[in-house]
Amino acid sequence: MAMAAADIERLIKERFPDALVSIDDLAGDGDHYAATVVSEAFRGKSRVEQHKMVYDALKGQMGGALHALALKTKAPS
């Protein structure tokens, strides 16, 4: 199973409308992505909390349809 980059971006933006999202399809196989998400929502949160927020936005796809998503999150500087 795989997931399109556009679907990942849509789910993240639904949850974090202000987010700047960039997604790279690392292997070109629709299964290994790297995503950077920059949103005010992350300010003051620990890295674990920030990543959990993104995983939550992906509605359980992470670890399922989405095998590998290298994630980088931060609040705007």
Binding site: R47, V48, H51, K52, Y55, G60, M62, G63, G64, A68, A70, L71, K72
Partner: protein, 116 residues
């Protein structure tokens, strides 16, 4: 093991080992690139850690995700606290924060930072 027994077993591992890595494969032979990265970082820092191979037991593989409410493996625990998965551990290592955290928690390690 029942789901509750698995949670109890995981709690015991996390409580009785200062540094625990739930990973795919072993520290000698990781079977996933993400698990390998975290094991390499810990080895590089000379940290003595217990590796738990989730591929040995599907109930542990599922149980650890429920334990931390975290969907992926590897998962690193230091003194009972969930630190993160591969991305977070790598980011913390590169920023020197992992070394600081280990020092703050009294875990022996060498003070190497990223070179090259």
């Amino acid at each position: 093991m029942s789901a509750q027994e698995v949670q109890d077993w995981i709690s015991k591992q996390v409580a009785s080992n200062d540094v625990v890595l739930f990973m795919k494969g072993t520290k000698e032979m990781p079977q996933c690139g993400f698990s390998m990265q975290v094991a390499q970082i810990l080895n590089h820092l000379g940290v003595d850690f217990k590796d738990i191979n989730v591929l040995d037991d599907v109930s542990v593989r599922d149980g650890i995700k429920a334990y931390s409410n975290w969907p992926t493996i590897p998962q690193l625990y230091v003194k009972g606290e969930f630190i993160g998965g591969c991305d977070i551990v790598r980011e913390m290592f590169q920023a020197g924060e992992l070394q600081e955290l280990l020092s703050a928690k009294g875990i022996t390690h060498n003070a190497q930072t990223l070179t090259a």
